[in-house]
Symmetry: C3
Subunit: 372 residues, 3 copies
Amino acid sequence: MAAEFRNTADTYTAGARTLPQRYLTSPEIFAAEQQRIFAARWVCAAHVHELAEPGAFVLREVAGESLILVRGADGGVHCHYNVCRHRGSRMCERESGRFTGAIRCPYHSWTYELDGRLRAAPHMDGVPGFDHAGIALRSAQVGIWEGLVFVNVGREPTPFESAFAPLLGKFARWNLPLLRAARRIDYDVAANWKLLFENFSECYHCPGVHPALAKLTPYNKAENDLSEGPFLGGFMPIRSGGSITTSGNACALPLGALDAEEQGRVYYYSNFPNLLLSLHPDYAMVHTLWPRAPAQTTVRCEWLFHPDAFGRADFRPDDAVGFCDVTNRQDWHVCELNQQGVASRAYEPGPYSPRESIAAAFDREYLRAMCD
Amino acid sequence: MAAEFRNTADTYTAGARTLPQRYLTSPEIFAAEQQRIFAARWVCAAHVHELAEPGAFVLREVAGESLILVRGADGGVHCHYNVCRHRGSRMCERESGRFTGAIRCPYHSWTYELDGRLRAAPHMDGVPGFDHAGIALRSAQVGIWEGLVFVNVGREPTPFESAFAPLLGKFARWNLPLLRAARRIDYDVAANWKLLFENFSECYHCPGVHPALAKLTPYNKAENDLSEGPFLGGFMPIRSGGSITTSGNACALPLGALDAEEQGRVYYYSNFPNLLLSLHPDYAMVHTLWPRAPAQTTVRCEWLFHPDAFGRADFRPDDAVGFCDVTNRQDWHVCELNQQGVASRAYEPGPYSPRESIAAAFDREYLRAMCD
Amino acid sequence: MAAEFRNTADTYTAGARTLPQRYLTSPEIFAAEQQRIFAARWVCAAHVHELAEPGAFVLREVAGESLILVRGADGGVHCHYNVCRHRGSRMCERESGRFTGAIRCPYHSWTYELDGRLRAAPHMDGVPGFDHAGIALRSAQVGIWEGLVFVNVGREPTPFESAFAPLLGKFARWNLPLLRAARRIDYDVAANWKLLFENFSECYHCPGVHPALAKLTPYNKAENDLSEGPFLGGFMPIRSGGSITTSGNACALPLGALDAEEQGRVYYYSNFPNLLLSLHPDYAMVHTLWPRAPAQTTVRCEWLFHPDAFGRADFRPDDAVGFCDVTNRQDWHVCELNQQGVASRAYEPGPYSPRESIAAAFDREYLRAMCD
């Protein structure tokens, strides 16, 4: 899925060019990104629907680290490194589930409270120097915005509230915290994560790559309201009462009490460094990007709907999922071609068109993050 | 398939030994070879039968670069890097085919003429600083000898005509430019490309490795006429009217108007750095070598016949292909054993026998290319 | 399978902690281990039952080197590098078998005596500088203890007799040289070889990981008699007349004339750097460890029985093999979790419990070997 944004004098930088090769292929720069960006920024890791009741958990891998996100007995969301403090064993293997009371290491049965404190360590009582009360799982910080759970494994993260201040309330009418997922697909894409961001940020490619999409939303009628910084995006028009689906019609209850203007638009926003958000009148599509290697990224895509839509006769989530899945795969394919080409010694940064101003803005934000 | 060449006082260097280990196993030396040899020398990439009419193309990967070889509207053969000048995307995915008029990038639909000049770039008219006429695909040089198409991706290549001057006319009677392929097999061999060259250059191994071949051509009766430099080889006798086939008989029309002497010989020549040429009275076998890693090489083998042979009742290409395929696989197997052994710390350069003088000459030429 | 050893004041070092991360994940340290340990110490490679008659051979890979272990015509066991002295080809491909008189290189048919001396090299007679009598396969040293064949590829190995002096006679009553194998299983384990050693060295994990085993042998009643140095271990009690089998009963003739005490015990010993020995009244289990990468180890497991047990009606080897195979896989699984966890930046050396004193002793021995 992709958005194209109107060229305006204040956002398009004439002469903007694509990134130099090394940012897209170098293992050293990839490692630096993992540290400077993915281990330092707020990374979108889950939606609250996955952590509904105490003990509910999901595993996520951020910057190479296995993390346990768990709803505590206190109602808060905790994030622990998945590493026992005894011999260092990974404790939890399941992708998601619910702990019944405690987190137990399967190797020697050390157990921890949901908030990370050591509960029990067999045969360790009375061992000289063993400080039971001082031992806890190592943890990372957590923040929640519009129902999306972000983690930060950095030592001195920017406070979550100040990082997300510009977005407070902006999407309130879409009821994101209440939504539930009808479908999830994980895609393995042989492309650098930044090429996926750039691809999401323009619809210049839509006529050639997405002929069906181009019929539902005119690729050259996009408008962006966030054109610089970590949050970028805007909207494209769709037919009122319609949606981006195989049928062209809405396939579920509206996400919220949207006004007429909002009902005739799809909103596309990217959130540096790993969230792509697509808000349709009847469904939200959430992409999170998980870089694996310079030329390998896992993209998780979830389709969220109003909780009251489920079980209704007019609920047809596959109408949205099927269409978007085709569009996604079209995008991954050209991103993979893009990756193959930029690895050539014949590649040099090429000229962005005015219709790629948001892709250029993403590149600027990325370079700022790397040079901070 | 392999040739052994007569030991003569002027070609056999007493005391010659095999290459030191590092040339056969080191990733650093492999990378250096890619730059100093495969990105600097004339590499055999195709036969003209694959590029018959305007728009016909093949993809090749040379020194890690994807190249498009295409017959132009002007009748010439062009070689373009497979990289769009806009975002750097790879444009062409098919191994071979025919462009209908232009080369189009699938990502944003920029299009190029067959000779590489930019034809169209949507929405780029009027963009400040965009020089439509100055944009073209990056290209590499092309040369054709005896119907074989060579490419050179170096910055300052030796002119093709002077590089191939020693061979002009030498094989004219075999009609190589007219021949057509009956069969192609790509082999993945877990051995360094130089071990394959050495293997092709001697028949000392034939009695043990190729018992069937040794019956058709006496392994100890070879004569070489090119014994130093980038072109090496000579001939071995076969029974007049016979050939290197399963039946032992010729399996197709003669390649040309060969004299009696030529009808009783098979000629084996190697052409540094990637062509092995075997000329039988009734068929030509063309091996091209494509190094992938220190211990990984793809070998493409094509069997070419006289164009008038096809469709005749006495045309039995499988008689040649079947025999050679068995022989090829016997060779690849011992080359793979060779690769495994030279990686041992017990390996040290061993003594070449007088029957391996051409293998030793290849090693010398290789070392010259690396030390130039 | 795993042993836990009683905490005694003289063996448990209060404050002992697990190894720092780099020893378990670093490719550089892995390479150093291969040189300082596996290419310098006596490595257990085979049991004499595999090398019964002259010409019988097995292939083994030690420190990255393919070695041929062969029973010579003189009755001795020889160990040759699997590398021909001519072009360096690997000669032998089969995992085991019997040479008929000589070792022949398949490439150019050079042949060698079983003791390694060159027997024949075609067409090399009279070549200037070729010293037929001075050429032999490169070889490594061999030592045999209790029927187990050890090799040492180092330049100046500690003499075998002095290295194994502490163990002479210790296991004589179990008749190890006479035993025969009923079963072999090779396991690929995604864990560092040292985590497998540590796992074998304690039964602190048994209640949680091996519930069936814990019923047959009480995890907290182990005693160790070797608690420091390259040989470590002791015994755990079992029911007299019982064994570690699915049925809980002995499944074969006793290995030797064991006394009542020995019949009620299972002995677990580790032998630095690659042998784990488990002696039950009715069978011996021999693990050899073959490190492949920092996080990859092949474990070969053989089950040995008294030669007179084979063919008897009361011989039920699967009763032992089946039970141990399940236990092995439980161990490999937690070792793999352990490996995953210690690779985290959240890992730091954790406190060993008193029940892990032998694991701590292994770590000390390992660090001595690396720092010598």
